[in-house]
Assembly symmetry: C2
Homo-oligomer: 144 residues x 2
Amino acid sequence: MAKSSQFSIAIHVLAMLAKNCDERMKSEYIAKSVNTNPVVIRRLLGNLYEANLVVSQTGVCGGTCLTQKPEDITLLDIYRAVSSSEVFALHPQMPNQNCFIGKNIQKVLEELQDKVDSAIEEKLLRITLADVLKSVEKEANSPK
Amino acid sequence: MAKSSQFSIAIHVLAMLAKNCDERMKSEYIAKSVNTNPVVIRRLLGNLYEANLVVSQTGVCGGTCLTQKPEDITLLDIYRAVSSSEVFALHPQMPNQNCFIGKNIQKVLEELQDKVDSAIEEKLLRITLADVLKSVEKEANSPK
DNA sequence: CATAACTGTAACAAGTTTAGTTACAAATTA
DNA sequence: TAATTTGTAACTAAACTTGTTACAGTTATG
């Protein structure tokens, strides 16, 4: 994935939408909860729209709501919607093809990338947005 | 982890050292295979030294070699030696504590970070540097 | 012991990425 | 028609990554 906080913020935003499934939520309201600029939220919602997780309406009384039930949205859906890159990067420069290791390491690293990615995806596939909301409520009720 | 290629390059470097366990290897030689600057390699080797994976010697006939057998070095050892951050970042700004979601989401995200990290670590723990070298050799012998 | 060959590391530059901001067109409601 | 809201482009600032130069310290060897 990356150093980016897009995944975290996406979960936050979608959890808010999940808690208020029946009404449209404005980017400005969401931004106040995330503590950022509304444009940052709208950009993120654009990615979530492309992944068919939310739908927005412009104009007065506009805003965004989920397209699916929280139980049907997995963290993998969210991860794929906002995560740009792999967990770790390959060589910035092509390794020396005259070296035995240099010539063959890239394929091996790509396979490793796949394995690590699969491990992450298997984990994320088993957690839904509804689960996240449950965890949030559990946290809210836990003694500090 | 990150967009960084440190993990990839570390595996490359250690694979080279593993293939020539009995002699010290110079940073300039390694750099030519990785196709980068020797200082980049020496910086990386510094991290690997702190993790007790390699040892270097200065001066004429200096260089670096492994401190352990390739079968005893796991990719998790390497990952921990060079990976600075988590797989995904939390909020850049503290969320609004007056919002129900904002107040409780961070703990939930931290728990999620732990789960994802564990998934990665379990995978990396089961692969050794010797396995990597085997994969490289297999790749070298495979028909193109 | 003088010299050449190494590593270790600081300091800096360039490129990329991320987050945040302003501005404004387009769409919608009333 | 006016007010409100999203979508998006353009820009800035900060952080991170890689690469580079420079040089002090260490070691082998003639």
